[in-house]
Symmetry: C2
Subunit: 356 residues, 2 copies
Amino acid sequence: MPETVNRQMRLIARPEAGVTPELFELSETPLPEPGPGEFLVRVIYLSLDPAMRGWIAEAPGYQEPVPLGEVMIGFTLGEVTASNHPDYRAGDIVYGRQGWQEWAVSDGGNIERKVDPADGPLSAAMHVLGMTGLTAYLGLLEVGQPKAGDTVVVSTAAGAVGSTVGQIAKIKGCRTVGITGSGEKLRSCLEEFGYDAALDYKSERDLSGALGAACPDGVDVYFDNTGGEISDAVLQHINVGARIVVCGIIGIKGGLAATGPRPNRQLLMKRARMEGFLVLDHMDRLSEALGDLSAWVKDGRLKYREDIVDGLENAPTALIRLLAGGNKGKMLLRVGAEPAGSPASGEAVSFSPASA
Amino acid sequence: MPETVNRQMRLIARPEAGVTPELFELSETPLPEPGPGEFLVRVIYLSLDPAMRGWIAEAPGYQEPVPLGEVMIGFTLGEVTASNHPDYRAGDIVYGRQGWQEWAVSDGGNIERKVDPADGPLSAAMHVLGMTGLTAYLGLLEVGQPKAGDTVVVSTAAGAVGSTVGQIAKIKGCRTVGITGSGEKLRSCLEEFGYDAALDYKSERDLSGALGAACPDGVDVYFDNTGGEISDAVLQHINVGARIVVCGIIGIKGGLAATGPRPNRQLLMKRARMEGFLVLDHMDRLSEALGDLSAWVKDGRLKYREDIVDGLENAPTALIRLLAGGNKGKMLLRVGAEPAGSPASGEAVSFSPASA
């Protein structure tokens, strides 16, 4: 019996002290019908992201928040079930912005790309075979340009981007050194993501000294997800011709007024490069990048963590757990079943919460 | 009648308060004879450089100073007059380190390169057709990678390197904006070196505002000879994909402990690059670079200033004038005559002190 009802999760209030389940309300509407030039998408996975905290709040100067009473927004993976659009047909898997609902009609405007189910587990398209993996791959290889034998240092080394960077660098024959912020993450770096060495910057009294010991041949590539004092320490150990990929700045305190040691002298002495990276600038290499990432996921060389919760009704509590730091990997909501015959789910290569 | 005497200028005392003529002594020795594997060089030009102040002083932690009683060191252009060396023959013009003397025997170890007299005025091999020109050419084109229509900003814009960078950028079809430190240098930028706009940073109350007005389309390439506050101001105006060539750091106060605004956020937002440059890393392109520089000098598109003093006996007073900032261009001592048939001297394209 075909589905006749669409369940949706709407935002009905703005957070005061924090995010609570009462900010959202589950509602039911008739299943939408695609009009001319439209198609119907059945949502399979919904990505839960820290940025959602901002999307539901009224913060002056930022983007317009989700209007009250509307379906909550979010990135999704779905299956096209019916189509009047020449570029989409039933069975296509699409990554886009269908939001917190089980079904959605689209004219293609809120679809980012089609996903090839042969690339790997469908859920991986939400992270390691999606923007997270592409950021790691293209930032490291395009800007960092590692060569076999290079020493590659990564900050936020156990995070989604960082752990992928470290593993790709290892695949490319580099020595990898991870910088992370807890003993548990340090163990993940060494035991799960294959770093040759790892440091917990919060427990090091002399981070620069520890880095020097972990990088006896100096640093050739630094994938910088933080900036700030962590990066100041790494800069002291760069080699001639080093490449610093500036990918994130969460370690810089003080916003636009932040000051710190000037890097010019070291960049000049070492003829080194600091370069900002945004993945969207490199989409001409998307196909090549996804091909490599897919092969590495399939052969088990590229590991990732995901934390999957079932059922649209559990979206608010899953988001709240994510915002509290209680997730054990990329946080996903399974809104609907994967199509029959989909590749093995991520369990085969990912780390389940229980083993984390 | 062949020469039989070699005149030499020796260092006989170290500077106390400052450099004085009494630190040096002119002496005569018999003309040296090249032994097996050696050749005799007649010095034509001697380069006088600010670094000589350090070479004659005993400063702990720096390189060994010139020993007292020895011939003062310096970069020279000379003519081989007799040779027992398979790679050098009479008539060859050589750039090397023959020091403050009229004649020198060499085994080739202190020769940097042979100079082709067809490249341009011989004196130009000491600056615009030498390391100065190569620094400007290779730094701008290899690291800065300007495209026609780009806006190129240069600090120390009227200096030897900066003025050459500005002119090459103009030849490449860029809009050029020079930053300099006096009204006189500002006029040189506009009237002699062809900058589209120029700023005297010492007279601007709002350097960033003035830069914004001078660069209405933003900054694509910044050739940075200073670092420090000048560069902080330029960074505020860079475009997406901008290239910053870190070539000098004389504007950074405070040595290794110098602090300033962190550039990471701007580099990330603009996906821009800061890269240190040392000309010696790029010598594989020397021949191509000299070919272009030579062509531009000959057709008058690449202008330069030189300040030539005649006679080895005047080397100390010329050095003293240079150290006092009284020179009107690259300071050279003409130790001996150019060979008969040499290309027109620099006067045709350079600016004489009188017209400066």
